[in-house]
Symmetry: C2
Amino acid sequence: MTTPSVDERRTNTREQIRAIALELFAEQGYEKTSLREIAERLGVTKAAVYYHYRTKEEILASLLDEHVAGMDAIIEWAEAQPAGLATRRELLRRYSELLAGPSGSEDVPHLIRFLQESQTSIKELNSGAEMRKRFERVAALLVDRDAPLADQLRSRLSLAALHFGAFAFDQLPGTRRERIDAALEVSLELCCRGE
Amino acid sequence: MTTPSVDERRTNTREQIRAIALELFAEQGYEKTSLREIAERLGVTKAAVYYHYRTKEEILASLLDEHVAGMDAIIEWAEAQPAGLATRRELLRRYSELLAGPSGSEDVPHLIRFLQESQTSIKELNSGAEMRKRFERVAALLVDRDAPLADQLRSRLSLAALHFGAFAFDQLPGTRRERIDAALEVSLELCCRGE
DNA sequence: GTCTATACTGCGATAGAC
DNA sequence: GTCTATCGCAGTATAGAC
């Protein structure tokens, strides 16, 4: 065992900044979280954080990009399938799994809550625009382009149901697993009633 | 016709600040909107705005309080009715009307969009906590306390449907009236399937 | 490569002149 | 009722220690 290599330390500090930032962003919002606060928790100065990420936005963007990659994998799969009810059901199931995240960690639910509650901060970021594009592509896969307005709304709401189930710890009872399963049930009935 | 009384001018300036603030908050978020920006649009300085509202939060709170009063009227009516399907349907219809706002004005939709997208900023305000209480009371009126988790979720989503219909100009086609009517349709089927 | 010291601009907020 | 002046802290940025 020698001292950690430069690469290990670098990755470590960057990861730690990401983890602390996600926690604080989810708790008190993006704008109200200061770089000084993140730096203090890590035991370094503001400028040290600034070395690893060139702006505060870049920290947020790196968090969003991870979720965008997860959505891309699902979208790529769905667009290769024949359009139809079975594909839509499986698309919702896979997106539900993505939102559940690794079973021990609250990271993904925290991110989803943050996405939902801080859209104004996120909207103007490049990474935020990328996220919205993915969201629109998933919604488009769930409903015919020329379906009635009410069906368009149902497809968006079926995604909102999954998001809400993932992060609504304090508004709904049950474990996260129970909420996510109930959300998938409601989501499926919103989007996949026999057509 | 004499010169305007002090009270009239005061009310006027206060109203103008509210209108400008709501527009900017909805467009670019609460945190990113500076008092200097609001003051400049009004042709005065930052400190002049501070004469009318003691803090930036107080401007936001005065916008929220107006909507809270509208919710209170609906809640008071619903709690005086016998619990049942008919009351729930009419509750959703009345809340839908509140969200539509006066037919010529976009003020209420702007406020609803802002509420939905800036929850993190609002959550820590007193007025924000009051809003959340009202929202929970409406949700409680829409579902039995000991109903299954999926039904709890449906009641929240039926409100989310109305909110989404009111402000989703850029994500859904149709006029505001069409979107609000479609949202009410989806909302009713989420919450009021024969029980 | 990683961090500290330091400084710049603009923010919300306050005090006091007119 | 509105202004100028000022405060402390935010995000950003650079120079240089180790």
